[in-house]
């Protein structure tokens, strides 16, 4: 019986435990990073899937709107006027502009589509949703500032200041400090005042907009105090706009709904109107071109190289170069596309057909390599069996080897396409980075693709585009997940064991 060195065995087990721990730790760290990425993206992107609308009563005047041509009417102005009518006290130019800024420039779009689908609405009074602008939307989603209201439970006197802009606020007892703070807004029937300066016993305030009366006395309960968590100069939405929105909200006129236009509209300079449809269609068209070109070419090349080509120096050279091509940075393919497809062949700029050609070149090596591996994985005994009953080499390949390799080829192709789907750099070179508002109608119309759209939006200064960017990433990831799931399904479904 050999003497067992216990310390050796203990060391061995310790090493194994350590190794398992390293593996688990690496996995945990990876999962953590992935989770952070996903949670962050989803968290940022989810708000972009909803939008806020204000419900307005409008009358579609039969004189201005033609039932035969419902798409021609000026719905935006109609909605804007209806919105302004909600706040009759707003008078000045600056104030009106601030009020208009609450509505999106496409506020009439929903009404237009309502009327187009039902022209009998013309001549009637309609309750129509008007899309709010990105700033209003962000405020209502809680991104700009929090606001809280407290009832004013003391008497407050308001009087204009002598010789300068502003108002003096005093309580009912002189020298008693007012329960107010700088930046707070006193809201009452007929106007709102923001506290600018606070002194013992009185406060200096500036009017938001125009007051109905210069001098007034507010009894307890007639006014309330709005407190903002972010000072006005640090946000895009003004105090007065917040108050307007809060009024509408209190009246129950604001509704929140799923932002279908994110999926049905093309890109826009206005964040609330910008949609992913153009990029999604562009991506699908581009990838379709890439698939149609790369799949048959890739399979044919792999079949020839693997099954028919004589093994000599030339095929070796080709093989090495295919492997090299798979490692070429994708931007090089973009340059190639620019030089060859655009400049030499004169194909249209920014077009899915050129993008597809470039991406086809990009994924071709991947598809060839994956297909060759799949063909190689078919046991030679299957070929021999087919040859043994008198099948020709080609019959053996097409009847037996190719069908057995197809799941592997499909998996490789789908993973290649997933790569093409997420590819940005080469498409920048061929002009698919332009701002294109229209949904592409064909393979030669100007288009952009999802990852480029993400790139474009991430560059824009508007805060609302941040969540649009994240939402576009979510859409891109979902498409990629679907592609990968399809690859896994195909592999599992058609995998043969022998």
């Amino acid at each position: 019986m050999t003497e067992i060195r216990r310390d050796f065995i203990a060391k061995r087990y310790a090493a194994e435990r350590r190794f398992r721990f390293y593996g688990a730790a690496a996995l945990a760290l990876t999962a953590l990073f992935l989770a952070i990425l996903l949670v962050d993206t989803v968290w940022k992107g989810l708000p972009a899937f909803t939008e806020h609308r204000v419900l307005l009563d409008v009358t579609l005047d039969a004189k201005e709107f033609d039932a035969a041509k419902p798409q021609a009417g000026d719905y935006d102005t109609l909605m804007k006027e209806a919105f302004r009518a909600e706040f009759p006290s707003v008078k000045g130019r600056v104030e009106k502009k601030a009020l208009n800024a609450l509505l999106s420039s496409g506020a009439g779009d929903d009404l237009r589509s309502m009327v187009i689908s039902d022209p009998s609405l013309i001549g009637q009074m309609v309750k129509a949703p008007a899309l709010l602008s990105d700033d209003s939307d962000l405020y209502l989603k809680g991104f700009q500032t929090e606001v809280s209201f407290a009832p004013g439970n003391a008497m407050l006197r308001v009087a204009p200041l002598d010789g300068e802009e502003g108002f003096l606020l005093t309580g009912d007892v002189a020298e008693q400090p007012l329960a107010l703070a700088v930046g707070q807004v006193v809201r009452f029937e007929g106007g709102a005042l923001r506290i600018a300066k606070l002194e013992s016993g009185h406060a200096v305030a500036e009017a938001l907009g125009k007051l109905e009366a210069d001098q007034l006395t507010l009894q307890p309960g007639q006014w309330d105090i709005a407190t903002f968590s972010v000072p006005e100069q640090d946000r895009r939405i003004k105090d007065q706009q917040v108050l307007w929105l809060e009024t509408l909200k209190a009246e129950g006129r604001i509704e929140q709904g799923f932002a279908w236009r994110f999926f049905t509209d093309g890109d826009s300079r206005e964040p609330e109107l910008a949609g992913i449809r153009g990029a999604l269609v562009g991506s699908l068209l581009t990838v379709a071109v890439a698939l149609v070109l790369a799949l048959p070419l890739g399979i044919a090349a792999a079949l020839y190289l693997e099954q028919f080509a004589p093994k000599n120096r030339w095929t070796d050279l080709i093989e090495v170069n295919i492997n090299n091509l798979a490692a070429v940075p994708s931007i090089i393919f973009g340059l190639l596309g620019l030089a060859v497809f655009l400049n030499f062949f004169g194909l249209p700029r920014s077009a899915p057909v050129v993008g597809g050609l470039v991406l086809a070149l990009l994924v071709l090596p991947t598809i060839i390599i994956a297909s060759r591996a799949a063909l190689k994985a078919v046991p030679p005994s299957i070929t021999e069996a087919a040859l043994g009953v008198g099948a020709s080499h080609q019959q053996a390949v097409f009847h037996h080897v190719l069908p057995l390799a197809l799941p592997g080829i499909m998996t490789g192709t789908i993973l290649g396409l997933a790569r093409a789907f997420g590819e940005t750099a080469p498409l920048l070179m061929i002009g698919m980075v332009a701002f294109i508002a229209d949904v592409p109608e064909g393979f030669t119309s100007a288009a952009t693709v999802l990852p480029v759209q993400v790139f474009l939006w991430s560059d824009l200064p508007e805060l609302a585009f941040q969540s649009k960017t994240a939402a576009a990433i979510i859409v891109l990831l979902v498409v990629l997940f679907i592609l990968n799931a399809a690859a896994i399904y195909l592999r599992k479904r058609f995998e043969r064991r022998w």
Binding site: I382, E384, A385, A386, G390, H399, L404, R497, W498
Partner: protein, 273 residues
């Protein structure tokens, strides 16, 4: 058709008795096979009779499988392989450029060492050969061919209720009989078997051996085997290969009882190999 090629009767080492009773099916003269630099078969000549089982025995690497694969030109698929000499089946040179290798392989069926059914249904496995050669004009004829082939392979009763099940789902022995049925389905004249029982258990082996014995009534069968007992049980002729040459060739009962060559005796008695 090509003019029949005739050879003088082989006299190495001495003409087996069984050759006198049956016509020669396959005649090989001075066959050389090279795999690249390796000279695998050196000037081999042999006559193989029809309607009998000929067994090739010998140590690993002696060239018996290589020679078997030369008979239906399966070695063509190996790029580095070169074959010299003449092989004649029924008076027809198999290396004749006018001969279609596909037709040759339909005439000379092959059963491989490892059962290799197509990953398709049992029916499709058997029907594939007849289909690509256009043997059946309609479904009924194809059904008949499949049934006959499976019956001849002794598999019909076991699989007749599950012809649509995958062939790969059968047991090893059943798979090998399916492969035999597949080979029979194209109505070959010669069946080459490359160690058909090496992957099977003794019971499955016994079934295959029985089957080979039945098939010998109608086919010329050549079997490569590592099992001396198997060669003794199923074959009428035995050829002993060593280092790429045919050492001895004769009636099986004589080979195993009174081998002429010392090397044969050593191999059979297990002294080398």
């Amino acid at each position: 058709m090509n003019a029949p090629v005739t050879f003088q009767t082989l006299i190495t080492p001495e003409k087996p008795r069984i050759m006198a009773e049956r016509p020669t099916k396959i005649a090989a003269r001075n066959v050389d096979v090279h795999y690249g630099e390796k000279h695998a078969i050196k000037g081999l000549s042999i006559d193989i009779p029809d309607r009998a089982v000929s067994a090739f025995i010998g140590p690993s690497g002696c060239g018996k499988s290589t020679f078997l694969r030369t008979i239906n030109r399966m070695n063509d698929t190996i790029p580095t392989c070169r074959v010299g000499g003449d092989i004649v089946i029924d008076g027809q040179d198999i290396h004749d450029p006018k001969l279609d290798v596909v037709q040759l392989r339909a005439r000379v069926g092959m059963v491989f060492q490892k059962p290799n059914p197509f990953p398709k249904s049992i029916f499709e496995n058997v029907a594939y050969g007849p289909r690509i050669h256009g043997f059946a004009r309609n479904k009924a004829e194809l059904d008949a061919i499949v049934e006959t082939s499976l019956r001849k392979a002794g598999l019909w009763d076991e699989v007749k209720d599950r012809l649509n099940h995958p062939g790969t789902g059968l047991s090893g022995g059943q798979q090998q009989r399916l492969c035999i049925a597949r080979a029979i389905a194209v109505n070959p004249e010669v069946i080459l078997m490359d160690e058909p029982c090496s992957a099977l258990d003794p019971i499955a082996t016994a079934r295959i051996e029985e089957l080979i014995d039945e098939l010998r009534q109608n086919y010329c069968i050549v079997i490569v085997t590592h099992s001396m007992q198997q060669a003794a049980r199923v074959s009428q002729l035995t050829a002993f290969f060593h280092l790429g040459t045919l050492v001895e060739y004769g009636d099986t009962d004589e080979m195993f009882t009174a081998p002429q060559e010392k090397r044969t005796q050593d191999y059979i008695t297990g002294r080398f190999g």
